[in-house]
Symmetry: D2
Subunit: 335 residues, 4 copies
Amino acid sequence: MTTVGIIGGTGYTGGELARILSVHPDVEIASMTSRSNAGKKVSDVHPYLKGYVDIDFTDSIGDVDLAFVATPRGVAMEEIPKLMDRGIKCIDLSGDYRFHDIPTYELWYGKRHSDPKNLKNAVYGLPELFRDKIKGADLVANPGCYATATILACAPLLKAGIADPLIDVDAKSGTSGAGMTPSERTHHAHCGESVIPYSVGTHRHTPEIEMALKMFSGVEPEVLFVPNLVPIVRGILSTCYIRLTADLREDEVQAIYQKQYEGEPFVHYVDEPSIRDVVASNHAQVGVRTIGRRAVAFGTIDNLVKGASGQAVQCMNLMLGLKETAGLNAPGLGV
Amino acid sequence: MTTVGIIGGTGYTGGELARILSVHPDVEIASMTSRSNAGKKVSDVHPYLKGYVDIDFTDSIGDVDLAFVATPRGVAMEEIPKLMDRGIKCIDLSGDYRFHDIPTYELWYGKRHSDPKNLKNAVYGLPELFRDKIKGADLVANPGCYATATILACAPLLKAGIADPLIDVDAKSGTSGAGMTPSERTHHAHCGESVIPYSVGTHRHTPEIEMALKMFSGVEPEVLFVPNLVPIVRGILSTCYIRLTADLREDEVQAIYQKQYEGEPFVHYVDEPSIRDVVASNHAQVGVRTIGRRAVAFGTIDNLVKGASGQAVQCMNLMLGLKETAGLNAPGLGV
Amino acid sequence: MTTVGIIGGTGYTGGELARILSVHPDVEIASMTSRSNAGKKVSDVHPYLKGYVDIDFTDSIGDVDLAFVATPRGVAMEEIPKLMDRGIKCIDLSGDYRFHDIPTYELWYGKRHSDPKNLKNAVYGLPELFRDKIKGADLVANPGCYATATILACAPLLKAGIADPLIDVDAKSGTSGAGMTPSERTHHAHCGESVIPYSVGTHRHTPEIEMALKMFSGVEPEVLFVPNLVPIVRGILSTCYIRLTADLREDEVQAIYQKQYEGEPFVHYVDEPSIRDVVASNHAQVGVRTIGRRAVAFGTIDNLVKGASGQAVQCMNLMLGLKETAGLNAPGLGV
Amino acid sequence: MTTVGIIGGTGYTGGELARILSVHPDVEIASMTSRSNAGKKVSDVHPYLKGYVDIDFTDSIGDVDLAFVATPRGVAMEEIPKLMDRGIKCIDLSGDYRFHDIPTYELWYGKRHSDPKNLKNAVYGLPELFRDKIKGADLVANPGCYATATILACAPLLKAGIADPLIDVDAKSGTSGAGMTPSERTHHAHCGESVIPYSVGTHRHTPEIEMALKMFSGVEPEVLFVPNLVPIVRGILSTCYIRLTADLREDEVQAIYQKQYEGEPFVHYVDEPSIRDVVASNHAQVGVRTIGRRAVAFGTIDNLVKGASGQAVQCMNLMLGLKETAGLNAPGLGV
């Protein structure tokens, strides 16, 4: 059986990878590393994994076929060259390998990139847009959660050549997207009865969205991205305000979306996308409405699944030649 | 002492009016009407008013100086002509008198207007924009909750003549804005862990926002309004995407807002508007950020106070020549 | 392949059954009935099932090996005799068959029981307590959600013969437990920032808890049951206040629990039971603390899975001779 | 005008004191101290106080008539002796002066008490039970939030001499009760969809509840106290399981409560206490139900108002000979 390891298994995306992989039919979790918890049982740190993951956290990943790197930003680019040199395929969930363009990375992430060689070859891991490249990749940069929801919602209009490049995105995320470290913003008494916009126009997913959409459509949008923290645990709704450059009826625009995602196992056009319909699953829903020459495109995902660990497993399946839906074939909760 | 009555005292805005007016220093609640609860003690239906409102619900409002009409849409325009004929000043919270323009009313509300005479003379009750008119009014149309938050956020840029008229508004509202009648959308299991967009481009506050902004600024915007239900009880955040027609630095744009609302007792420019800072109060916060020639303007209010009953009391104070802040002089909760 | 049908597929438990069964390796959903939605695609009513359940709602269940009856109370006892007569095994999720004792049913449910014959043979479907009986059953009465969490938490102490029979239970439930019909209590503006106790001492799960605990332990407790609605969507925490009749150290009491549930695939002793660790899964966690001769026992489940549809599938697996964990082998979400 | 100061003005209770006192008709906030924010405008740290509190945070409190001490535990007993020596009346919100009995303090708070002299004279500040003592006090120990809700719910039964001393309390608190410092437990992704019991049987409010109830009733109860964090921001529901030592009908027991709190401005007997009816106000609601000889008593408050800062202002009013309700005379929000 194929073996995989998780570097950085303490956080939410690390735990979520283990949750999904522990019941994957074709791979086995051989190791999970953690700086703070090495030596402890994984299921003592993540009690929901009791009976599913029966290993201890270790310092190093050992001998595996593929590694998921779920470390903080900046750490991944230290770890990945070593893994690549050992011939281990890698999926980076941290953001370190999302830009082919070093200046863009350094501008938005505020630090030097220490692994330009692998950066050049990393494939952006959004299967619905770049499936073939992912299949042949040794290193996949797993997309950001906001980026996934937004790119899926905007891609069809840009690809169809009918979108003005100035796009405003108002995205709403559950609090698990902020990770497991407590902060003032995610303190319940602060955020539990509020909607909190932050990083207006300066969020790091902005250039990622622009880059991926350009790669896919040939058109480079200028995205004004406004993320909002909403008091739900899991789920993202990305609302994209796009002006159309052609006169189309609403149903014609909707048909573009339907055609784009026809046959996709995890991305679906629906008239009314719903967070609850995708939550706890790797599914995404997209929808679009038009008012004259103005379109509103919606994308919903579970930020920890299609927005992180589920999408990483989908990429893994492609990279390893497994069935793309293996281990991910389950509906959202609905309620 | 001045006496006031509340027509439609069972619902959320009726109860909220009673909550505020019960401790108002200059007026007395003489009557509250209710079709369904006539004969019952008000404080049995609204137990939080025990010790504050010691009257029973009645069928008719009796002899009062001013009436608040908090009925469903369509009922108000039956009641108000009768009240006006008796010389009772009226504040309508229902939406029936917000448009001077009958065709706009009939288009968006889907019914004939039965009181064109009073409609013509009704004043739109947003004090920060139309204070002088409200002072002289006998009939005030109290603004909608979404409309209040959005108009306050957009008005300064339109007035300054630097806004493109195509404006996209992404508004988030707490569930109390939907009123007290249970529905699928406000069913907790449905909305409690979700963000639900609805009435995309078709919400009735759209023409209200356009009309009020035009009256105030002379510029008629074309608003694409997208409301979202978020799982909080009270509060609205309205996020307005506005393109600028001139090159201004962010601080110059912010100065426009500061100047617009300077000296206002209830509307404040802050860099980071917060729902919790205004909740349970009549205060509003507005803020604005710019990225190049694109602005994002924010408005926050408590939908039941500045977005409904508090603003109605503010209008009442102006109509009756009382201190504008009487009965409303309290900070938001903060936490 | 074994075929199953769901009678009453519109509601939350019906949808949840379909969600689980649609990816069950050994059974196939042959039919789902609905009075209100017959003729519609199941995945139009439950969009999260798109790609998983590709049938229409029908009026009748047709020819199946086993039927899940997820109708309102009172309807099940009309349907089940007909199904039993056709030789179809049944699992009733409605509550109609939980009492062998007709007077208890009629006292607490307030209506005559129309199917005493099958009532007599129905088996109470809590596998951890009555596994062998379920294996041989043709009709299983699936336990209530509160009952499941409470019985699992209390059973070990009663079985051990060290519990005073007067037990106070303070249970907290997410709002999905109230079903899909909107009501004042589940209206978000009413319950979203509150904790609402209801049916104090009169909830119908009270006699069910007493009956099951007596069947299992031989001791009949007198349970004072206080349910509370809490503003979460899924999950129950049942807190049981039990006085001990013997002097035991805390670790000795905890050992009783560990031993009771040792080897169980779905019920686990942990020191700090957590709703999030079991949510979206068929797992339950129980814990116990003691202060002198007073014990506090905790039980947590997802009310729609182990508290309803998941447990029903677990019973189905036993009745059909399948692996008990088939289709249910997944961890809780954790986050 | 009487001047007051707030020592420790950065936290939630400090901000809440300022929110209430800023519109109090008879006192003026002369100073607010803060270690971390000295020199900053109070309204920059607490933006909701803009227009209401126009002073800067300072290092020391200066010359005031009365001081509120809202520091962390252990700091108060350093500050208060100095204030008392200067003839400043003090209200301590920290817990340092709640026990007359030094060993109890040292056992539950785990440190030596450095101010036994003032401890001896401190009065427990629950006006409904100890009004006369508070009137004459120079130092008041403001009750804990859980303690307030629980004591008000239990006191009538103990006073009536019909309660068994073994009482189980299951209390549910909003997250603002945990203060402003982020922690794992109050991290939204952790607690936002959960109910989290903690400190089972070991919470510091346990001996406080026992002491206050004994002082008031002469009967010393043995309380098993189980606090639960629930995902609401403000509000406590304390559910108290009490066995009766006499046969009384439910309405007789309820009459005991009605009589106990008759005429109280802030504590009310109602059949169904509701957090929303008291939230944002200084009101408390209590209720009681009986099932045979078992009673369930409920108490609800806003933890930051009647559970902290509002109750402190109520005590201040009594200490200064002001009207007890001054500055607190407002209904709860209801919605």
